[in-house]
Amino acid sequence: MLEPVNVSLESLNLMTLAPMLIPIVGALLILVVDLFKSNIDKSLYVMLSILFLFTDFMALAGSSSAFMQNGTLLGLFDVMLVDGLAIVSQFIIVVASMLFIPLALTSKRFHEFSYPEFFALFLFMIAGFQFMVATDNLILIFVGLETASLSLYTLIAMHNREKSFEAAVKYFTMGALAAGFYSFGSMIFYAVTGSVEINQIATVLVANGFSDIGFVMVGFAFILASFAFKLSLVPFHTWAPDVYEGSSAAMAGYMSIVPKIAAFIVAMRFFEFLIHSGLVWVEAILYVFVVVTMTAANLWALVQTDVKRMLAYSSISHAGFAMAAVMIGTTQANTALLLYWVLFTFTNLGSFSMLWISRQKKMLPGQNSDHSYEKFAGLVQSSPMAATIMALFMLSLAGVPPFALFWGKMYLISAAVTSGYTVLALIMALNSAIAGYYYLKLIVYMFMKDPVDSRYEKVIGSNLSLSLKTIIGIAAVGTIFAFIAVDPLLQAIGGFVYNSGY
């Protein structure tokens, strides 16, 4: 006879699971509410989502204080791993989602927000990303990744334009390929080491001195390719501009932040031991990826005629910039990456929200793209406030002091210099200079040119509502007053990262 299974609840450590369960419960609740009373106004669902995200935030605060007392927590048969990286990245994910959700309350009616399923899928997606960062089990990472990605494809397609279907299908095909690469790479690492936990894999590989180097190389190539798809690193970036163009501006801004931070955390966990293992080629490959992504995306952004596509290429370039921190792999660099992403969240969400307020239902005759530079020409004459805020976000993205991203760039470059990557630091600085051109180009259009077409005046700000104003205000305040927050943020993030051993 078999022994009875005795699992005590304490050993499961259900606290580690609480932050993921809250959005799942919220999503189910939203679905059930819709069943019993349909056609409720979307503002109820927006408020419910914010409520659950806020509860999630409080649960995270609870686990962060538990982390400060007891260190890294394991839970649910040691599958969940709540360390400093998991906590900081979940904070970024939840806060960015809380800033995104009010963008649904636009003054124009949009198709996707009338469905409660939109908000349910959105909460499921957040749970997926949270699972992805709070584990070092390759299988759970895969499950989280797929939960999040499949919801995201649907959210893009729900925008209900011809271009958004195209975007969703493109993203789906690329994402499926990336998922295949990921599972194949994990399979190889499992075959070599007999474990699906990243720290176990590291222990086994280091113990036998990377004797199966051929397998490790193939597995690394597959895993790197899948992360490169998710992080849109060149040459796996081709989906990004089309997908950003096809989805709504708010969703595009969200996509440039949250999926990438989740992928960065997993990449950090996975590449950490490979970089410090003394394998020269790992570093060389990542170096090439970083430099090519930063430079090529910047050069493509120079020639774009559409502001949204320009911002898409710029966020590819920023991803390459942040990937440099994963390659350097010191505590300082990892801290700088997380700081960079916190600041990037405010700035990039703000700049995409500025595009969202000028969303047109129909294009004017002779207009080729939704957010062309001409649309913003002479904006300062018709709406000086909007022009100033847009310019503020652009300056921040370009890295002009004292705005938010300047501090992120500074800490990242100084981390590179401290670790002896002087050439890389130089390339990063040069790239920031190149990037200045296309950000300033928009400012020149807004402040120094005359309006091309007077009809554009009515379009800009036509989608504006109180909640959009609030979000843009929060983003602007975060961008301007970043210099106050940078030091305490750096202290806090540094503590979290250092105590989890990265």
């Binding site: 299974v5 699992v7 189910l28 679905l31 059930v32 069943l35 019993f36």
Partner: protein, 129 residues
Amino acid sequence: MEHIITANPYFGVFVLFVLTFGAFTATTIIARLASRALAAKDTEKIKLSVYECGPEVTKQPNRLSPQFYLFALLFLLFDVEIVFMFPWAVDFKVLGWFGFTEMILFIILLAIGFVYAWKKGALEWHNIK
């Protein structure tokens, strides 16, 4: 309850596999024969041809209502539930309270899915909201 001891621990699974395969094949063949025997056969040529002006059309050999796919999905919902519940019921005492809570949670999640399908009208023929 005693577990039956076999030489290989997976022998029982193999037997189940063979039985399932046989049962599946038999069911399909019986369904095919029965529908062939029972269906009304009116093979008037013009009646069967598809109306189209000009080009010759190729006839789809078997057309299925999409409703069947929905039913297949719903069937899967309960099928997987049963597949999961049988081994749980056999080892109920071994799994203890932990197994019990896990199963309750699983059933609650499935029940939400069931209520969703029901309220959306997926259980009614040709009435998908």
